[in-house]
Amino acid sequence: MTEAPGTSPGPAASAAAIAADVRSGRRSASAVTEQSLAAIAAGDGEVNAFALVTADSARRRAEEIDARVAAGADPGPLAGVPVALKDNLCTRGVPTTCCSRILDGWCPPYDATVVERLAAAGAVVVGKSNMDEFAMGSSTETSAFGPTRNPRDTSRVPGGSSGGSAAAVAAGFTPIALGSDTGGSVRQPAALCGVVGMKPTYGTVSRYGLVAFASSLDQVGPLAATVADAALLFDIIGGHDERDTTSLDRPAPRLASVVDQGVDGMTIGVLAEYLEGADPAVAGRIAQAAEVLAAAGARVEEVSVPEVRLGLSAYYLIAPAEASSNLARYDGVRYGLRVDAEDTVEMNVATRSAGFGAEVKRRIMLGTYALSAGYLDAYYGQALRVRTRIIDGFAVAYERCDALLGPTAPTTAFELGAKLDDPLSMYLSDVCTIPSNLAGHPAISVPFGTGSDGLPVGAQVLAPALAEATMFKVAAVLEAGAPVGGAA
């Protein structure tokens, strides 16, 4: 079993170790759950990783699992493992709000596919984690429930939009969590909090029950303290789902067993464009990560994919365009907030104006504008052509390389409030994660030492579509070779 990096104050036991203990009866799911709930009770007042803690249902669930173990049954590969779910994953009868006032109190009438699969594997949901409203943000500050704070330094943001899930793992509240990644929303907070976060190939994890933001980019992804746990979680949530028409009809992944196979003989490209805007200490850590891979037997070379420079601009046209369409459903008719008015159109306007926060309004307007008459081809059409160019650019790099390496984010965690009123500056923190979403490719962030401020740096491993096995192998080598403490 791979150990977590030495700087991690994460949970004492990995998800795999907890499940092994619970399945064998060495430890009860109830005891594990109580430990998680106690850690949340002690620490979450300050961190605010959770929008909702589901203590009662978690305790009932843990008792069920213990009863099954006592009866000689196997509750599954995540038996008794506490998990945090981003609050945009539908949970039947349990509030799912996307941390927006417009969905305050909404209880979905069904579970997301990934939630069903976690339950079938024996996991115990301890709560819904905080997020930027509708996953629109990079700092978890746009949540209607107030910001999450970074457990490594509570004056800093945890990143976003899955900041609550990343903080829950970093603080040791839960060993694993689920987030969603539309432009980096799993990987960037993982990097800023010093945990592992992965975005799967588009279509490998079902989006059924994931509240839609930008449907051609959204993927559910695992967060964990170790690469092995991230792979285990991916194996459980991945695989075809007929309820999501964009789900790829392929066998479920089985990668947990290949993670430790090393990088000997691989060619890994260090992506030059991702180092251009990076903080020098962050860039220094990536150079060090390249040395770790070379020492493990990989051939490491510099690679240029100039097309990725256009990713940010294309993303901030495509994602808002899709969002403006997806969020049209919040009209005060079927669920969530309604602000009453004389007629239905006036009710729609009053409801949406009161229910959406500033960043969501900005993105809806940006997308509506990019799709509006006169601008459709200049903005949205051009962005879709750029998307093709980015895919082609990566394809050239992958003719020579098995995987690519770069920073996950250009800087370490920034101060709360630093970028909240400067959208472009906030958007730039996703500059190294967005191209993978546009291309549909998998990528993972692995903690790799700290920056000059002592805060975590994430090394990002990118791989071609469906090459998660390669990606996990590279990630595991980086994890094993990550520096412990100290400045670059």
């Binding site: 964009t246 256009l310 900005r362 809806i364 093709t388 895919i391």
Partner: protein
């Protein structure tokens, strides 16, 4: 492509109307400035010569997704209506939609 002119306050107000949002004067002012900054950044995309490059709407596109046409349970009506802001006779209740005849 021809460069696009900077978004105006009137255009932001128009777009807000299309999106069924009502903005305060202060929001209108702030969003005009902020959207202008983001769109300026997007100008590099708008001004590229990409004639002949196909558009990608889905990176992992799949086509003709079918499943057997078998009856299965739908969502529970009571459970769905429980989350609705207003309900009448097992339906979503909304304010009037049509105006008086002219």
């Amino acid at each position: 492509m021809t460069p696009v002119a900077r978004i105006t306050r009137d255009e932001v107000a128009h777009v807000a109307g299309l999106a069924r949002l009502r903005l305060t004067d202060e929001e209108l002012e702030r969003f005009t400035e902020q959207l202008g900054t983001v769109l300026d950044h997007a100008a590099d995309v708008a001004s590229l010569d990409l004639a002949g490059v196909p558009r990608t709407a889905h990176a992992m596109a799949v086509t003709n997704v079918l499943r057997p046409d078998e009856p299965r349970p739908s969502l529970d009506r009571e459970e769905v209506l429980r989350s609705a802001p207003a309900v009448e006779s097992n339906r979503f209740r909304v304010p009037r939609i049509l105006g008086d005849a002219p």
